[in-house]
Amino acid sequence: MSATWWAVLLATAGCYAAKLGGHSVPQRVLDRPIVRAISDALPIALLMALVAVQTFAVGQTLVLDARVAGLGAAIVALLLRAPFLVVVVVAAATAAVFRHLGWAV
């Protein structure tokens, strides 16, 4: 089995364990202020780190390319309260246009 399959199945098992754990463990195990506070901050930290890396990194190198324009367009779309699919399409189209016009690689 390939590494990708292992990753898919392991992560799936882990995510399901979190869901089932919430339904099964006694309230007091999870319901502590510190666990809750960290858990509230986790998605924000991880998703923003992913935004940064997926915009500026190619492997271990930091670069400025058309993805930055795409991210900028996505933020404008979000400020205009566009739905998810529109945000993603606007970002992709902006990056494609920048490359097509030779403004960015």
Binding site: W5, A41, L42, P43, L47, Q54, Q60, A66, L85
Partner: protein, 245 residues
């Protein structure tokens, strides 16, 4: 039983029928809206190198958008399988808290609990907690959970398939700017959580940590290490709350 009481009872039933219709309509609406980003997930996943089958397994069995995007994103960036798994599972940890909130409402065991757990995601929990449990003992709230969970599951999986098949038909992803769709997807996922100065501080610090570490570590590891920012933020938040009280 008197005729009057019977009349009140059927009034109540009529109201419940109307409420039930409203809940199901909302559930379908949320399902359709979520389906829209299921399309992006399907497209991004196969663009990132996963097969159509792997992509579909994620939507059916993992079934929690943020974690699915994270796994695919880290793998696509050349990250190791382990950091992809760890990032994905950490992002899915919030569902444990949704389960904690839903368990006393649903009161299910065995197979039903196993299914309820799988349907415990942002949308189903939000729709369930939006209904008051005061007047009906949670009947509307439970229906909102199940209807929204099943609706999102259906549309999310159909949309994933449409997106993955559609993207496999395309050529070089860079031509269509699909590599820019990945960060756009992540910023759209985090956007509703960036509500105040503290959340912005957490988010921007985590982004900075990940970028600073990028040249020195294998792809995927910097993102994982940015979770330290969440731990620090959590500790500070609890300490501040104690000082404040």
């Amino acid at each position: 039983m008197s005729a009057v009481a019977g009349g009140v009872g059927s009034d109540g039933e009529t109201r419940w029928h109307e409420e039930r219709r409203g809940i199901v309509a909302n559930a379908v609406g949320v399902g359709l809206a979520t389906g829209a980003y299921g399309i992006s997930f399907g497209a991004i996943s196969v663009t990132g190198g996963l097969t159509v089958l792997q992509t579909q397994v994620l939507s059916a069995l993992m079934f929690t958008g943020g974690s699915q995007f994270a796994l695919v994103g880290v793998l696509a960036a050349g990250g190791g399988a382990l950091s992809a798994v760890a990032t994905s599972v950490l992002l899915g940890f919030r569902n444990a808290f949704y389960g904690l909130a839903m368990a006393p409402l649903l009161r299910v065991h065995g197979l039903r609990r196993a299914v309820a757990a799988q349907l415990t995601i942002d949308e189903s929990t939000a729709m369930a907690v939006a209904r008051s449990v005061e007047h009906d003992g949670g009947r509307a709230s439970r229906l909102a959970f199940w209807a929204t969970g099943l609706s999102v599951f259906l549309f999310w999986n159909l949309a994933t398939l449409a997106g993955s098949l559609g993207a496999s038909a395309l050529g070089d992803p860079k031509v269509y700017g699909l590599d820019a769709a990945i960060p756009a997807g992540f910023i759209a996922l985090v956007w509703p959580r960036l509500r105040d100065r503290r959340s912005w501080a957490v988010g921007l610090s985590a982004a900075a940590v990940a970028l600073v570490l990028t040249p020195f570590l294998r792809p995927g590891v910097p993102v994982l290490l940015s979770s330290v920012v969440a731990v620090v933020a959590g500790v500070l938040a609890v300490r501040n709350a104690r000082v404040g009280s």
